[in-house]
């Protein structure tokens, strides 16, 4: 089943999982310790993140480690970046204009 990356990162627990394993690859047990929810719930989140390739699994001896896939995350983050920047620039200029207009009104 193909998963939607945007849906995957819309969930706060999954974002927290990503932040944790972005800092360091983790075993399922180590990861589950960070959450109050059941291990089952955590592995369900991991399954979704794996299916949309935000997380890779690697067998290391007897243990499985979850790795963060920054490349996939970048695809998501970059998607709207230019559009976002264009509007931020515009609104910055609009802020300046509004400040000027306010100053003029006050001077009346």
């Amino acid at each position: 089943m193909r998963r939607d990356v945007f849906q995957a990162i819309a969930d706060p627990t999954r974002r927290a999982i990503l932040m944790l394993i972005a800092m360091q690859a983790m075993t399922p047990n180590a990861l589950a310790e960070h959450f109050d929810t059941s291990r089952q719930a955590v592995s369900k989140h991991i399954k979704i993140l794996t299916e949309c390739q935000l997380v890779n699994q690697q067998q290391n001896g007897r243990e499985i480690y979850y790795h963060f896939n920054p490349q996939k995350m970048k695809e998501v983050a970059d998607w709207l970046a230019p559009f976002q920047k264009m509007w931020e620039e515009r609104f910055d200029r609009l802020d300046t204009l509004l400040d000027n207009l306010k100053a003029k009104e006050n001077a009346k």
Partner: protein, 167 residues
């Protein structure tokens, strides 16, 4: 101003619309004027590295507009136009938008601009753009066509990296 208000852009995958939200430290009447008077529009709407020209701006219900952005180095022009469905001062503008640079006509979107009064003389702007297809929407979001040529964006990369750290 101490800190910039955040610009929130929402574009759910597979949908034919996007939303832009931003708050301003100014009363609603002023924000509305900044969107509705040509001399003000010219001061903020044109992308950083482009010059903006207003070909036509008849801002009233039943009116129409045409703006042209041109590259400062003479590299090209990008026109866009639309008809204005409704202007209700100081709270609402509804209009169409069509980018003239596409190979075929008819890829029009519908824009709803809403200004809401907030306490302390602040204003919230909400823009909803609805497209003919998901492809049209994604095309506009990705093209950077308006923002033109990622030159301007690159300049700001560092600035934004800093602002993300500060938030």
């Amino acid at each position: 101003m101490l800190s910039k208000n955040a610009t929130k852009i929402t574009a759910e995958k597979g949908k034919q619309e996007f939303f832009i939200e931003r708050e301003f430290e100014a009363p609603r009447e002023l924000v509305f004027r900044a969107f509705n008077e040509p001399e003000f529009l010219l001061q903020w709407l044109g992308p950083n590295d482009m010059e903006m020209r207003i070909d036509k701006f008849d801002s009233r219900s039943g009116g129409s507009y045409r703006f042209v952005h041109s590259l400062c180095n003479g590299g090209g022009e990008f026109g866009f136009n639309g008809v204005i469905h409704e202007v209700t001062a100081p709270e609402r503008i509804i209009r169409t938008f069509e980018f003239e640079g596409l190979p075929e006509r008819g890829h029009v979107s519908l824009e709803f601009l809403t200004m809401t009064e907030l306490p302390k003389n602040r204003t919230r702007l909400h823009i909803q753009s609805v497209f003919k297809s998901v492809e049209d929407r994604d095309g506009l979001l990705q093209s950077g066509m308006e923002g033109g040529l990622n030159e301007g964006f690159r300049k700001l990369d560092e600035l934004f990296a800093n602002s993300i750290v500060n938030n």
